[in-house]
Amino acid sequence: MTSKTKSVVLSLGLAALVAGCGRPSNISKEADHGIAGAKMESMLDSKGDSPVHTIAMPHDESVFPPGPGRDEFVTACVVCHSPRYITMQPRFSRTTWLGEVQKMKDVYGAHISDEQALRITDYLISINGKAGTGHKGTYGE
């Protein structure tokens, strides 16, 4: 088997595994389930067969790498949002991350002390930080 063939077989194998979990690998396919095929009447009529419309949100198993302030981060931050809110950001400076943590405390009312805010900032720097200075962020972004 050439390496190219292997790659195709492995890719197909992966696609099958993923598809087995309801996640087709071909993103150009439109969703084949849920609301797309539903009739307006049956979904919006309170006297219809299914007046209660419910979804089950996916559960994400968060992974927190070791680092200074990890405990404070896990205790204070994850109640309101998942760690992807940190990992999707670019690597920010201490100024920027501290500004974000202070915003969470002062504006959104996170239950953290000033000392814990510094520890949490240490953690954010350790998993997604950079040297130098930067801007404080704003709100609603």
């Binding site: 790659s7 993923v18 419910t54 994400d60 709100y139 609603g140 972004e141």
Partner: protein, 396 residues
Amino acid sequence: MNRRGFLQLLGATGAAALTCSCNRIGSVVGTLSSPVSLVRFPEKTEMILLTDRPPQLETPLHYFRQDLTPNEAFFVRWHLEGVPTSVDLRTFRLNVSGHVRQPLQLSVDDLRSQFESISIIAVNQCSGNSRSFFEPRVPGGQWKHGAVGNAKWTGVSLRSILDRAQVKSGAVDVSFNGLDAPPLPSVSDFVKALSIDHARDGEVMIAYAMNDQPLPMLNGFPLRLVVPGWYGTYWVKALSDVTVLPRAFSNFWTDKAYRIPNGPNGTESPKHLAKDTVPINRFNVRSIFVRPDPDEILHPGMPIEIEGIAFDSGYGIRRVEVSTDGGATWADARLDPEIGKYSWRRWRTYWTPGNHGLYRLMARATNAAGDTQSNEQWNRSGFMWNVIQQVDVKVG
């Protein structure tokens, strides 16, 4: 592919799937440098994951090769952890109250049977769409160009609902609240407002359908405010409360959040932040390349169709110019027929690259008011991006 490559591929596509807990969406930290991860949320197709809780999902670019963005691919952005996941239409009511003579409690059945239905094709775009292109970078949802979509919205004009509620004289603002809830009492509930005149303009509407289907839960089932030409922050999802106020509305989400520098195109300098800010409002004019794909292979002498979308706040797109030489020369693209003043307009042009090498494609839209796009823009919140897009492609 070697074993390491295979494992990397597994990591990139969601190793969690292998353990077959079907509702899990992959490991979180450790993906700092990994490629785009696609996820599937309820009633949605595979979308680009920004965040899982609260969810922010971006539309893959290829869906913009259609006039209307499919519901299952339409972008998702929630602010608060308490995203509504269940609605009982037997008990759900839209409450209209405040500075009115006749408060209303309307079921979805009432809205569909007692009011004239209207439809409008309109772009909805997140205030922070394309935020990741601002330099210096700013915190917030790191969207590329996919926090936007175009849909046909069907529902009831807000004016007809307010008329039935009989607004008292002296009304100033109308506020809008949805079923989403803050995770802590200290977090401000997500409520937005429009002026009474804007709310009664006959175009702002309460939609119960999107592209002739009920809205997906993550896009605001069963009702969503539609504010044509205005940024998505006003399009309150799972709308449950409309309150008429005899005073200007005030809360965190209006006074502190979603504000832009009070100057041309919401721009300020990183060194001199604007002191005067105003609430974000109408879309500026912009265009987005939809084709070629970043990884599309182009060949010398082989014509390809360059394709994109352009929109503004309702004046209408009048011209899109395309450059294939980094802005040295420009030529008009062909505009598809206009399908609504709040819709985006698709455009296309043929290009035959002459030689091997790197080319910089650029696109610049102009609207009926003469507004166009520029080469520079920055603000601290990463809002209203409309810099002339540059796409670098390799030929050969």
